[in-house]
Amino acid sequence: MVKAIYPKGKIVAKTGNEVMAEAMRQISPDVVAAYPITPATEIVQIFSQFVADGRVPTEYVAVESEHSAMSATIAASVAGARAMTGTSSQGFALMWEMLYIAAGLRLPIVMAEVNRALSAPINIHGDQSDTMGARDAGWIQIYSENSQEAYDNMIQSVKIAEKAKLPTMVTTDGFIISHCMEVVEVYPDEDVKAFVGEYKPERALLDYKKPFTLGAIELQDYYFEHRWQLAEGMRNAKKIVLDVAQEFKNKFGREYGFYEKYKMDDAEVAIVTIGSAAGTTKFVIDELREKGIKAGLIKIRVYRPFPADEIAKDLSKVKAFAVLDRSDSCSGTFAPVYLDVVSALFANGLNIKSENYVYGLGGREISTEHIAEVYSKLGKIAKGEIAPSKTVEYINVRIK
């Protein structure tokens, strides 16, 4: 359970959505444009109430679709405003073309995103298919295990986005975190405001004294240079993410990095995953450790930019590991997080036995038994009793 760390902090009971809306109120952006969608509806609903009650001076733009929400957010950001939005799943998918434009124009937009399955079949529950599909869109992606992380990530994301000049999304797992009431430590408004600071854009379209063209056509001669800049911006964002995390720790006391290592120092078998399943995994690890099994976890927080070399280093000593993906790539091979992890290992000259599991699609339960089973198989693979699967495996799905 979350304990108070910050001397002026306050322990409250809040859902993931409530705490993300609270963070947005404290950040107090100039413009929020959003359209409601389950399970992220509450974020903008609560925030719009803050606006209506005069508790935040933000210009709230109620639009008619998520495509417009993202467009209005981009326009506000281009004009020089600190702009935010929130969405989930199909709404996120409807923003698609605008996501790439926000990144290409290097706009520091922050989005509160709740991970939910994509249609069809229609499903409102949590999996990470939506944002995983946008992993190459040029957005920084920060995933949260619980409400505390969602709150802290939102506060940090504003600074990260503005320093990196990259749009940033902070996500929670749909319903599991978005609707689950948890104990969260919140910080005083003035301290959050002081931490995020005032937004001073270098260039803004409303600054008529320094006119410029934005979004011009660039063909064979210039497009590539700007896309290289974007990719380089993402590479440079790694240091910014760590710097902001350090600043956050100095101010509020909580420690964040690219990922959290749980009992990895002497781990022989490890799971790599993202989001709320990490909590379940930690519980299983504690049980296995009592039995003398050296199990560990890497919980990825920052998926874009991907901390490849760091993960490779931290996995280098394990005998076998599994990556648990809460989305499937439908590529005929493996799921996204596994592909990133194994390419990181390969680039670092490491060949470690590994497996890839897809779990929890459409909110399907993942229990402690499922995770214990993965560790049990990893143990056998580590001992050389069985060979790792050459294809993606699935947890808790009725295949035959």
């Binding site: 706009l107 260039r203 410029f212 063209t213 001669d221 700007h226 800049q229």
Partner: protein
């Protein structure tokens, strides 16, 4: 021979596809032309119709002590040879005629 245009590197370009104002001045578009307008200084009555109608800014003008503004020539760096100036030049005057561009 056409001079090679100096292209900016990723390090030189402002981030995010920003282009500074007025960059069109550095992009000489006159080479697109297949027809060339020829301006006859003696026939011109400086009505400025050609200047008004030019879709680019290829009609050169200057202040003049006697009249407010006079035409001084055609900017072949940017004229694409559309012929609108020649068409709009008053029928009685015909100070601008179109000729085939010699490459």
């Amino acid at each position: 021979m056409k001079k090679e245009e100096k292209k900016l590197t990723a390090a030189e370009l402002p981030a995010g596809g920003i282009l500074e104002g007025g960059t069109a001045q550095d992009f000489k578009t006159g080479s697109w032309r297949s027809m060339r307008p020829v301006w006859n200084k003696d026939k011109c009555i400086h009505c400025l119709s050609c200047w008004i109608y030019c879709p680019d800014s290829a009609i050169k003008i200057a202040p003049d002590p006697k009249k407010t503004t006079v035409v001084t020539g055609i900017d072949y760096d940017f004229c694409k040879g559309c012929g609108i100036c020649s068409k709009e030049c008053p029928v009685k005057v015909q100070a601008i005629t179109m000729e085939v561009e010699k490459k």
